[in-house]
């Protein structure tokens, strides 16, 4: 049942047009952060307002929407965002990665490979990959304009000098289509390789920071590294205690107060399907 007091997918048409134009420019310049006049949404900044605005401007009434947070459909904020679109856009929803046409995500890329018929919308807290090296927007804008990414190389190299490896485990910076360095949102670096040459359209929304960016399908997305310290998509060296998967990203769960712990799939849809199918 759509809430009649609001327009389809909540946003007014002027706002959707503005967001749609930003999405298209983002696709035309992969990895470049397009400024957009983010609106105040009825949920707090930092809780997915960018992703929600991108999804709202993208949804068709016949879409099937999946919302996940930390890989799970049942995390509270995923539930809240899914309810928002059920209420304002009357779209069908699903927990199945394969059954969804639009997937909004926070912090994960589903384990099930995406297809050409899908759009993946990422919620982004800090879109600027250089932000923690250079807090000023005026300066980072210049860095991107000149593709002057030496600062990032220096930081990664300092990590190696200090720790013996690049000490970034999530929001690991990538280079898109050979030009822009981009923040992939706080996904674990385990997920980074899934972004490259992906058949689906990948859209990124940062509401508070007023930026939208995009990775078109089949675009090269390279995690920054060095020849002598190549990028490794690491995860916990365990198998899922529920479905037995040895190659999905795992959550660590504390099971007692005596150091007991177990590892289970972060992607609950993937895990449940494997468990049901008797894959374990």
């Amino acid at each position: 049942m759509t809430d009649q007091a609001y327009n389809f997918a909540y946003l007014d048409e002027d706002t959707k047009r503005m967001i749609r134009r930003a999405i298209l420019k983002g696709l035309a310049v992969p990895g470049y952060q397009v400024p957009f006049a983010s609106r105040e949404m009825p949920m707090p900044y930092g809780w997915g307002t960018g992703g929600v605005q991108v999804t709202a401007a993208t949804l068709r009434p016949d879409d099937v929407l999946k919302v996940l947070d930390q890989g799970a459909d049942d995390t509270t904020n995923a539930v809240s965002i899914r309810k928002f679109f059920q209420r304002t856009a009357s779209v069908a929803t699903t927990e199945s990665t394969g059954g969804a046409t639009v997937i909004q995500t926070r912090h994960r890329i589903p384990e099930t490979p995406l297809t050409e018929d899908q759009i993946l919308v990422y919620q982004v807290p800090i879109p600027e990959p250089m932000r923690f090296l250079e807090p000023r927007e005026t300066e980072t804008r210049r860095i991107h304009a000149l593709a002057d990414y030496g600062l990032m190389q220096v930081r990664l190299y300092e990590d190696i000098a200090r720790h013996g490896e690049i000490a970034t485990s999530y929001a690991y910076p990538v280079e898109v289509a050979g030009r822009y360095v981009m923040d992939p949102s706080p996904i674990p670096k385990f997920d980074n390789p899934k972004m490259s040459d992906c058949p689906a359209i990948q859209l990124f929304g940062a509401g508070r920071e007023q930026r939208i960016y995009a990775v078109p399908p089949y675009t090269q997305v390279v995690s920054l590294d060095f020849d002598d310290h190549p990028f490794v998509a690491s995860k916990a060296e365990h198998e899922c205690a529920i479905c037995g998967s040895g190659d999905s990203y795992l959550d660590e769960v504390i099971t007692d107060d005596a150091g007991g712990r177990m590892f289970v799939c972060s992607d609950t849809d993937y895990c449940a399907r494997r468990a049901e199918g008797g894959a374990a």
Partner: protein, 185 residues
């Protein structure tokens, strides 16, 4: 049917559906989608009419080139989009035949700091059956093909990436796109 008809009857739903076609062709250069059910005064195609209805409004100055700059179409645009009609240099969107849109160096290509501030050309009356060019780049698995009015302009446009304009091709109810990131061979 009068000279102002052909807009969206249910704007939120119809624009959402039309936008997804526009999104698809932009994300996948070479792909051709159909956009039906929209129309405006001649010579605008139904696909170009849909692109205007979805993307153009009071905040996006529009350049009308050649035969597309006529009173009936101006009136239709004023009614449905409200976009100010401007010279090529100030345009966020430009509508016309390929011949009418040239010379292309009049259009904004963005700045190094803001490459998004570049014009979008809506090439109307496009011949989708003309000799196809080979396309490579983001959005394309391997290579794709698309009929183009010429190749030279697009090769030059790609050479200044990330600056450059972006293009939609419209003819009848058919729509394709060539963002500046696409390599044309």
């Amino acid at each position: 049917m009068n000279e102002l008809s052909g807009g969206f009857a249910d704007p939120a739903i119809e624009s959402a559906i039309a936008f997804r076609a526009i999104l698809k062709v932009t994300a996948r250069p070479g792909r051709v989608e159909t956009l039906t059910g929209h129309s405006g005064p001649a010579p605008i195609s139904s696909a170009a009419a849909a692109v205007l209805l979805v993307l153009v409004d009071r905040t996006t100055p529009l350049h009308l080139a050649g035969d597309h700059d006529n009173p009936a179409l101006r009136q239709w645009i004023a009614f449905h989009c409200g976009a100010p009609v401007v010279a090529a240099e100030e345009a966020v969107f430009a509508l016309g035949s390929w011949a009418a849109l040239t010379p292309l160096d009049r259009f904004a290509i963005g700045t190094p700091e803001y490459p998004d501030r570049a014009a979008t050309l809506i090439v109307d009356g496009h011949d989708f059956d003309a000799k196809p060019a080979e396309l490579r780049g983001p959005g394309i698995k391997g290579k794709a093909k698309l009929a183009l009015p010429e190749r030279k302009a697009f090769i030059a446009n790609r050479a200044r990436f990330p600056l450059g304009w972006d293009t939609f091709f419209c003819g009848g109810d058919r729509l394709a796109a060539l963002p500046r990131s696409t390599e044309v061979r």
